[in-house]
């Protein structure tokens, strides 16, 4: 009986895996079309592609990992709800990043109205500083570990110190590698504003990180 069950289930799994493989070979626009045509696995492919990138983008923008996860979930729900309205002549990545950027902006706006959230974030970071060392990579040398962790904390805090609207532009350019045009579309600014914000963000970042790199 078990043998029969095994024989029956194996081809189905293989088919689904093959189907998923095929979807991974398609570009975003084609995956969107497949989703709209009723392919049940297509949306999952989009989630696979963007979940980590969006989480890092939102996390860098708002500086709160747990809240960033909630916001990324909300991004996918909104995309799912409105995907039929997506203009397929445009880039899907720009569209999804625009939604994420708007949600992050709202989050920062709400947070500035509610200082309690900021306090919670500070508390969370304080807890992170006291995390035991066994979570670290123990194969590396202690001085390398220290340097790596120090540098990571330093760059993280420098990015957090940038003004909100400079930070989003900086992260999109330096970490996501977006073009000026894409950044302009995502943030809803014109090209001139994007360039000026990026220049100021780099300037501030250089002045903050410079002394810590020596």
């Amino acid at each position: 009986m078990r043998a029969i069950l095994k024989r029956k289930t194996t081809p189905v799994t293989t088919d689904r895996a093959l189907e998923r493989e095929k979807l991974h070979d398609l570009d975003d626009g084609q995956v969107v079309s497949r989703h709209l045509a009723g392919d049940p696995q297509a949306f999952g492919t989009l989630v696979d592609r963007y979940q980590v990138r969006l989480l890092n983008f939102v996390n860098r923008t708002i500086g709160d990992r747990e809240r960033a996860e909630d916001l990324v979930q909300e991004v996918f729900i909104r995309v799912f709800r409105h995907i039929h309205r997506f203009d397929q002549t445009k880039k899907f990545s720009t569209w999804i990043y625009t939604i994420a950027s708007n949600l992050a902006k709202n989050e920062l706006r709400n947070r500035s109205r509610n200082p309690l959230v900021l306090f919670q974030t500070i508390k969370k970071n304080w807890d992170a500083d006291h995390r035991p060392l066994q979570f670290e990579d123990t194969t590396a040398r202690p001085d390398d570990l220290y340097r790596k962790r120090y540098l990571k904390d330093a760059v993280d805090s420098c990015v957090k110190e940038l003004p909100e609207h400079h930070r989003a532009v900086f992260v999109l350019r330096e970490l996501e590698g977006r073009s000026y045009q894409e950044i302009a579309e995502i943030t809803g600014c014109n090209l001139g504003t994007v360039k000026s914000r990026l220049n100021r963000a780099r300037n501030t970042f250089a002045h903050l990180i410079g002394p810590q790199l020596d």
Binding site: V52, N59, A68, L175, I209, L213
Partner: protein, 167 residues
């Protein structure tokens, strides 16, 4: 070729770093300034090394519950978007019921006799109601009759006079 000042370097640094400055002559001006100006060189180094450190700082990955939670929410969302679920059998029965009701209504309308035409009633003079200020008093008497009988206040109002005032 004019040498570059620090202000111009900092102002146009984004263009230089992102490769927007493509003219060889312009690029040479930037490179020459970097070679000679210690402050701008350390600024450029700080940006480059800082960004490298940022890129190497590692990425955060979603928690284990992230995907499970998202899939559950997406399933709920799909149900909401699909609207209320009606089985095909129930749908067919409802359709049949509506069709029968429409047929019955049509049959009843066909069987109903045409309404008879009512004869017009002869015109009847409507008595004129007359109201006086003060206590409400309305009469349906013909005012002309009262005038003929010597009522100085016509139009149906009652004339009450003390006895002996009439001559």
């Amino acid at each position: 070729m004019a040498s570059m000042e620090c202000a111009e370097f900092l102002d146009r640094y984004t263009d230089y770093r992102d490769g927007v400055v493509t003219a060889p002559r312009d690029r040479r001006r930037f490179e020459r300034h970097l070679a000679t100006c210690e402050t701008c060189r350390s600024y450029d180094t700080a940006v480059r090394r800082g960004v490298l450190a940022l890129q190497g700082a590692g990425t955060v990955t979603p928690s284990e519950q992230f995907r499970t939670r998202l899939d559950a929410r997406l399933r709920r969302e799909a149900l909401t978007l699909a609207g209320p679920l009606v089985s095909p059998r129930v749908g067919a029965a409802a359709g049949l019921l509506v069709a029968v009701a429409i047929t019955l209504l049509a049959l009843q309308a066909a069987r109903r006799p045409a309404p008879l035409e009512a004869h017009a009633l002869p015109p009847v003079p409507f008595p004129k109601p007359v109201a006086q200020a003060g206590a409400p008093f309305v009469t349906f008497q013909d005012p002309r009759a009262l005038t003929a009988a010597g009522n100085p206040i016509p139009y149906g109002s009652a004339l009450i006079e003390p006895v002996g005032t009439h001559h």
